[in-house]
Amino acid sequence: MKEPAITPEIIARHGITPEEYQRIRGILGRDPNFTELGIFSVMWSEHCSYKNSRPELKKFPVTGERILVKAGEENAGVLDVGDGWAVAFKIESHNHPSAIEPFQGAATGVGGIIRDIFTMGARPVFLLDSLRFGPVDKNAPGAAANRHLLSGVVSGIAHYGNCIGVPTVGGETWFDETYSGNPLVNVFCLGVLRHDQIARGAAKGVGNPVFYVGAETGRDGLAGAAFASRELTEESKEDRPAVQVGDPFREKLLLEACLELLASGCVAGIQDMGAAGLTCSTCETASRGGNGIDVDLDSVPKREEGMTPYEILLSESQERMLVIVNKGQEGNVREIFEKWDLPYAQIGRVTDDGIMRIRAGDRVVAEIPASSLTDQAPVYHREAAPWIAPAPLDIANVPVADNSEALLRLLSHPTLASKRWIWDQYDHMVRNGAVVGPGSDAAVFLERECGKLLAASVDGNGLITSLDPREGGRRCVAEAARNLACSGAVPLGATDNLNFGNPHKPEIFRQLRDAVEGLAEACRVFGTPVTGGNVSLYNENPSGPIDPTPVIAMVGLVEDEAHVTRQSFRGQGDDIWLLGERAAGLDGSQFLLIVHGRKEGRPPQTDLAAEVALHSALRDAIRAGLVRSAHDCAEGGIAVALAESCISGPALVGAEVGLPDDGGRDDESLFHEAPGRILVSSAPEHRAALEKHFAGRGIPARHLGTTGGDALVIRLRGTDYHWPLGRLHRAWDKSLGILMDTVAEPLAAH
């Protein structure tokens, strides 16, 4: 088959700039052929090369005494958790595919991140997800389409995660018009392994055979990496072939077979075929191993007849791996993959010349220095627009609302309401480890093989980040760390997902730069190195870019099962305390957005040093047995936090509290969202000990009241706000389900 000639149009269609094309000519010493152009286009896409974000990513702290595999070295970072055990974890986005085909887009996102984890030699043990959608309320513009996306994404995650048997134990979901038509689907996976089981994605050992294992290659998902690196347009639906189709059953078999193969000791290197498929896995392993690789496409198991080298190399068919096997141990591959009824084929070998050489039978179809595709990808220092601090909110211009009604509105808003409709669809119980499952501050998972209690939380706040990107970065790291502290865990490390618009726009690039600096600063202060992550740029739809949405997933360790703490009140007669500084203002709050429809103000700044002291004092109080429940005061302020502690447990528990007069308005006292505050309950006999503990640590601890009764009562400046628990619970527990199940429409035709 004759390949198309290289024309400026063909080059442009591959997303390659004229300057980049000259760079390719320089590397090859000639013009690339069509196949080679395709290879460069996917490897130099943002998705694979991070060419627009790499200088920013270098700002993250990546070292620490627990780090066993550093960010960027491999498919996922690996952290020591003690006693010879380690965890491999990472978060990854599948935003663009999910916008086009939500079910398969989300499903293959789960498949991809799970492969990243078992590629490291780790057994995947749990998932978290961080999702963003446009409004799904009855009368919101675009609600029907957004509900279709939400419903498709959730069932896609459920389909893949449930079938493969990896529980989804937590996550977060926000709704805002900025994500209409461009949903965010970020999935986190954590796996467990012993230190000596860490597998490497390097083509080691010249002459070693290269195996292809897993599903056959088809034409699905052609050049998805390049697709993910463009803005979504009205025509994007025509890109549907760029979305892959997931097969969780195949991946379950592949997972078991690969772990068996790794345990057999025959593997010299292993890499999953994710974005950019065979191309990426071959050139990356060769480049990491400092070697070359020689592959014959005729040997690749294929699903379709007549595929061209270009198609085979750029296909993103799912559930495939590349394995480099120690010479002489090829029999292990045969034995294990036949047991699991999976295709496998020897497709090439490791060479010593540093060249990625692709053949189709006798014909060489591509010949490129492997490292030129990875280490020598272009790097751009984009232009950043100057930072203009947002004007503080003038509270006098905010009309006084009915605060009683406002709390019910907040609790029933999909962003703050119970996400039970979502997590009921996920098998969060398989593996019998979810000691704290979905719906508390952080998930706590007992991994039985290593006997460790692992905690994890995923957090992002696009609203705060849109107003103040640097604070948005700091805020989400501090919130994740606070959630871990509330669960009784010590944070160990983090993984980031950067969801932004088109970085060629100076305004967007400034958001990216500032948010990364905020994230990096906070991760440094908390001592949680970033072990890797994902960058998703070009998140724009025809009406503009999304609010910048960095997301952090943080992993921690609970030392003793007795320290596991939940957000819900445990019984009548307990003391309720607020830890942390008081603050005022409604800038950047969910109250201002949901009740008044306004995204504005100058968000209160996170005091990182105060956060560290607060978290550590809380953990020590938990260790001393002084704490019955702990809940982060975040979106919706203290009123929402109190309500959640009353209604999110196995039984409803009332509370009667008095809030201090801060000199502001009632709505500020109830709903302001200053970071660094935690709601704690404790047994009355521990009152003195608790007071003394926090006073000794210099942490403000204010006794607000007592649990009990059948209502939440808040006394504030002479007003008694009174909400019966049943009303709060109905508003919070059922609203998302009612929206989704009673106004759901049939799925749009494909």
Partner: protein
């Protein structure tokens, strides 16, 4: 007691069953590969949950053809207790060892949550450690758990005291509101005619430890262990 826990391609809950039997009950439990052809020497056979063969056809429709299922049928005929949980229940129905079928949940969604079960028969090998009328909290996790059978079959099940569990509320009331998946007559678990095969959609192996929110699932395993003791006496 020696338990066999079957492993099909796509089984997910086999490890949880093995671990629960070993760690919570101190029993011997072995994984048996679906291509094995004999189950001789095992005291109880567990067909665990998961997505055998991806459940891409009907749930359990392919697994029933695995070589090990012939051995399961033989052992069931000899009176060996066989417990099918979730996908295991679906497989036993497909294999004809239990009547009826499990179809798509009424609400069309996968459902994972704690539910209440009414124990209706405390004389079976699987339930004798409990008492009739007892309310158990045991979680479900399935997309196709709606029990379906024709009227005559339902009557035979009920007349023969073969409904082991029904979905109910916290007080044991069998109501439509507490039927998570639309199962006919709220059926959550059934016995075969000779009482040595139980299929149930809820997961007793997920309810054997306080830290997981319930220990009510222990009744199923304690009944089996008690039965073995009774048999040796």
């Amino acid at each position: 007691m020696r338990f066999a826990v079957l492993r099909f391609p796509g089984s997910n809950c086999d490890q949880d069953c093995l671990r629960t039997l070993r760690d919570s009950f101190g029993e011997k439990a072995e994984s048996v590969w679906h291509k094995d052809t004999s189950l001789r020497g095992f005291d109880t056979i567990i067909v665990p949950g998961g997505f055998s063969y991806g459940d891409y056809l009907r749930c359990g429709a392919i697994a029933r053809y695995s070589p090990v299922m012939r051995a399961v049928a033989e052992e069931a005929a000899r009176g060996t207790p066989v417990l099918g949980i979730c996908n295991g229940f679906q497989i036993l129905c497909e294999a004809g060892l239990l009547p009826g079928a499990l179809v798509r949940n009424r609400g069309l969604h996968f459902i994972c949550r704690q539910v209440h079960l009414l124990l209706e028969n405390d004389t079976s090998l699987f339930t004798r450690a409990g008492h009739t009328g007892q309310v158990l909290r045991i979680p479900v996790a399935h997309g196709e758990g709606c029990y379906f059978a024709d009227e005559a079959t339902l009557r035979r099940l009920e007349d023969g005291n073969r409904v082991a569990f029904r979905y109910c509320d916290a007080h044991g009331e069998v109501t439509a509101e507490n039927n998570p998946n639309g199962s006919l007559r709220n059926i959550a678990g059934i016995l075969n005619e000779s009482g040595n095969v139980l299929g149930m959609m809820p997961h007793p192996e997920r309810a054997c430890e306080e830290r997981l929110g319930s220990t009510d699932g222990r009744i199923v395993f304690e009944s089996l262990l008690g039965s073995a003791l009774a048999a040796t006496r």
